[in-house]
Every structure is written in C-alpha cells, then in structure tokens.
C-alpha cells in the first residue's frame, strides 16, 4: 500500500505543470471544482484543456488565465447557453479554441484509452466542421474501401476528477452519471482525484464493481467534502441551481468575472475557506436526501 493522500495544494503543485494537456473529469455531475480552484489559485498557465462538453468550470480555468487552448465539442452553461468568458477570450485572441463534436472527442479519448493511434468513424466527413481538426484525417477503410475519418488519439498529461470515495492507495469509486470521465482518466498519463470520503481497503473489496479508476495511475488522492460544489455528486449532494442560473450574469463582462474569481477563489486560501463563506445552511439544504 502506497499512501497517496495529500492536499489539493500539494497535488496541483507537484503534478500539474504549466503547458500540460489537462483532461477535466465530470460531465454535468462530479465536476472537480475544488481542484480547478486550486489550479487558478496557483496561477498555472499555458494549459491545453480537453473535454467533450465543457461546462462552467472551464470559465473558471480560462478566466483565471490558466488556459492557452481548449479542444472540445461544446462549451457553455448546460441548459442556459453561451460562455461569455470563453467567447471573449477567443475573440481577444488569448484562447485558442478547437471545436469538433462530443463523439469525436469521446473517440479520441477512447483511442487514448485503448492505446491505439486512432479510431475510424464516419463522423466529421461532411459539413463545415469537417477537415478543421488536424488530428482527424481521411483514410480508406481496408474492408469497405470507403473513405472514413481517423480520429487521432488524445493522451492528456494529467486528468483532474472528483469522485465519491477512494482508499489511500487510489482505488477510486465513482457512480452516477459517468459521461466521458472514465475514458478521459484512462487516456491520461496520471490522475489527480478529490473524493468525499477515504475508506478502508476492505470496504473497497466488498464493492470492486464500483472502482472505476485504476490505482496504478492515480498519483494523488485529496479528501475534499463537497469538492464538486456547485455541481452535484450522486448520493451525496444536489446541484446549486441558483449558482448556475446566476453564472451568466456573474461573468457577463471582464469586471464581473474578476469579482467572481475574487469572491470564489482569490479571497480564500483553500476550498474549505470558500465553502465556509457560503450562506449558512446552503450545503445542508443541498444534501442528497433532501432531493
């Protein structure tokens, strides 16, 4: 047993390098806000962010000056609309955006998981999105002789992810909506994971079907209750709907966005300090059993 427990500060300092390609786990669920906050706090920069559908945690990383590039199939506030932050950074030339589709991104991460150079698929053969991503190349299928697109593999340097629980060795258990999280983590060279609970080995052994991330590539386990707030975590807490509803207004221009970063990140030494600044009873109201 190798003990991998550390703080978010230690994990981000040790395992995220400037200019890394970073996969961000969580899809509408279990979004690693606490680790993302710490990346902003430590002013990491030049990161190339990778995702299928990129939600508002990407606004945080982009507004915080951490990202140089974003490759994704979608970006914005799910069910709400456009990301003002990303639109502005793209327009001002400070963020390089490569747009494709959610399935193409999924296939590219899956190729990374499989350890193969590409996966063929008929998507992105036609339309204005076709032929815009340089890592998608036309090939001739040796079986059908038809043209098909080779979606090139992605192997991010590091994945950040939040989950329900882990043992000290990094046997991470995750359930609920999965999205692209497991493939993205498997494709990445190492995984930084925050969890609600650290549990004993023997608890993991009783439910090995819940273990989703392979311990041998988990380099850091961070105990952080509510670490996915304001998103939700299945069996633990609900989403803060008001936070998401207010987000567009909170980031409507550069000034508002700076205030948002100030009050959620810069004013705090760590994520627990931020959680303590939230309205009393908010987290209690969000408990899963109240849903």
């Amino acid at each position: 047993m190798v003990d991998k427990i550390m703080t978010a500060q230690q994990a981000v300092k040790k395992y995220i390098n400037n200019s890394d390609m970073v996969f961000v786990g969580g899809f509408g669920h279990a979004i690693p806000f606490s680790i993302a906050q710490e990346i902003v706090r430590q002013k990491k920069h030049g990161l190339h962010l990778i995702k299928t559908g990129a939600d508002i945690v990407f606004d945080m990383l982009v507004a915080g000056g951490c990202a140089q590039g974003l490759t994704c199939g979608w970006y914005g506030n799910p069910g709400m609309g456009m990301s003002n932050v990303i639109r502005q950074e793209v327009e001002s030339g400070t963020l390089e955006l490569t747009e494709s589709t959610n399935f193409s991104m999924m296939l590219r991460l899956h190729a990374g998981k499989l350890g193969v150079p590409f996966i063929p698929s008929p998507i992105l053969s036609n339309g204005d999105l076709a032929h815009t991503v340089s890592e998608i190349k036309s090939i001739t299928c040796p079986f059908t002789n038809a043209e098909i697109q080779a979606h090139g593999s992605l192997n991010p340097d590091v994945a950040i992810v939040h989950a329900q629980r882990s043992d000290v060795n990094g046997n991470v258990q995750l359930w609920g909506s999965i999205g692209d999280t497991v493939d993205g983590c498997e494709a990445s060279k190492k995984i930084i994971c925050s969890v609600e609970e650290i549990c004993q080995d023997d608890e993991i052994s009783l439910t090995p079907h819940l273990t989703k991330l392979p311990a041998h590539k988990v380099v850091a386990v961070i105990k952080q209750p509510f670490g996915a707030y304001p998103s939700y975590l299945h069996s633990f807490y609900q989403r803060d709907e008001k936070y998401y509803a207010d987000h567009s207004n909170n980031t409507k221009d550069a000034l508002k966005t700076e205030e948002w970063l100030q009050s959620t990140i810069y004013n705090h030494n760590d994520f627990n300090s931020y959680l303590h600044s939230l309205p009393e009873d908010l987290l209690k109201k969000l408990e899963w059993n109240n849903s």
Partner: protein, 252 residues
C-alpha cells in the same frame, strides 16, 4: 407572462403561451415516433418531445441521453444530459461512449434535436450566426448534434416558431443532412403549428394543426415553402397533454 385557462374543471389552471407553443411543437414531433423505438434525446425541446412520447403517445420507447444515461423515465425537465433528475430515473448508467456507440451501430431509431437554424435541405447550425450588421455571434457548438444527425436511423428536429431559425441556407453547417450509409438523416422538423418532411430532400409542409392555415405557416418562415399534395390536418394536443407539458417545464 400571459397564461390562459385551459381547464374549466375542478382544478382551474393557467398555462403560458410559451408553454403551449412548446407543447404543440413537441406533440407534433412525437407524432413521428412509433412505439418501442430507441430514442437519443438532446437537451431543450427534445426533452419535452421525449416526455410527451413516453407519457401519452408511445409509452414503451427507450430513452437515451448523451451522458450515458439509458432507460430513462423523463418525468421532469433536465437542464443537462447528466442532470440528477434523469440520473435518478434511469435504469442503466453507462458511459458517453456506450450511448454514442449504440448510435454508431445503428441502434438509435430516432435522434431528437433542436438547433439555432435549419435550412430547406435539413442542414442544422449550432455553431455561429451572422447578424445583419456583419458580426458573427458564436454559439456553444455541436455537442452531440453533428454525431446524431449523421448516425441516427432518422432524425426529427423540433424548433420554436421563429422565422430567423428557418432559413434557405444556414450560416454554418454544423450537422449536414448527409447521413451515414443507408440511414435516413433529418426526416422532418416540427414547430408549434406544423411539421415539414424532408422525404424528397427538400422541406415540404406535411402536417398542420387544424387550428392553423397554410398562410399562417408561410408567414412564420424564411423558407420558400412547398406544400405536400397529401397535407394532413391533425388535432392539436389535448388539454391533458398541455397541462402535463406545463408541469414538466416548470419542474427542473
């Protein structure tokens, strides 16, 4: 928001025009879905189509969401494809790869999409809009829309009534109506008053609610509108469906 009385019975209830409009478009789309089909559901209006289909018109359909949720009971409106309300009402939590693989294998009978724009050839735009002043407005992008349009056995689009959305040529072809293999691509688009078929490759008015005229439809589009020689006039959704849709839209 203006709300009108739709039920004169014991429980008086008012429903907003917007809710009625969405329900009419969704009900029109659900008339294109037969029972026991497997449906890939996008966010927004497609969720209301799924709800109406499952509750009123084709109760044994299988609902699939991009996040990997399968066998979903769509009781309340989800804001994202991974929202807790649908995760809790799902019988199978797979991954995004699992459900897109179903799509690519040809096992999705119907893809339900919305879009910022649709053109007369069934091409969809979810990427960017050109304004009259010459500016370009960025949109959130394809997400799974391109993939669904290429890979579903058939695609039914559902749109609000807005002439700017029905154009002869979309500003950007996010989802080309060029389906893979022998799949059918975008077969039609539903809106609050009518349904257009793309059977011939070009939009043709195929169904119209009995409380609307073809001229009303024509004026709500920027299309050179063709009318089918077999135009069907169908009854608008019942009050029961309008009420159910309103409750669905209010609970998210």
């Amino acid at each position: 928001m203006k709300r009108k009385v739709v039920n004169e019975g014991a429980q008086k209830q008012t429903i907003s025009d917007d809710s009625i409009s969405q329900a009419r478009a969704a009900f029109m789309a659900s008339s294109e879905i037969s029972d026991c089909k497997t449906i890939f559901v996008g966010i927004g209006l497609p969720c209301l189509v799924a709800h109406i289909t499952q509750n009123y018109t084709s109760p044994n359909c299988h609902l699939v969401f991009e996040s990997g949720l399968m066998e979903v009971i769509c009781k309340t409106q989800p804001l994202s494809t991974a929202s807790a309300n649908i995760a809790k009402a799902s019988k199978m939590h797979g991954s995004m790869l699992d459900v897109f693989s179903m799509l690519q294998r040809g096992e999705i009978d119907v893809g339900l999409l919305s879009a910022a724009q649709i053109d007369v050839n069934g091409n969809l735009n979810s990427s960017k809009l050109n304004t009259k002043s010459g500016k370009t407005i960025s949109l959130p992008g394809s997400g799974g829309a391109h993939d669904i349009s290429v890979l579903a056995n058939k695609v039914v689009v559902v749109m609000p009534s807005d002439p700017r959305r029905f154009v002869n040529n979309v500003n950007f072809i996010t989802s080309p109506n060029i389906p893979y293999g022998n799949r059918k691509g975008v077969v039609g688009v539903a809106m609050p008053d009518a349904y257009f078929s793309f059977k011939t490759g070009k939009a043709v008015l195929q169904k119209i609610y009995s409380d609307r005229t073809t001229e009303e439809i024509r004026s709500s589009l920027n299309w050179d509108m063709e009318i089918s020689s077999t135009l069907e006039r169908i009854n608008p959704p019942s009050n029961r469906i309008l009420e159910g849709a309103d409750i669905f839209l209010q609970n998210n």
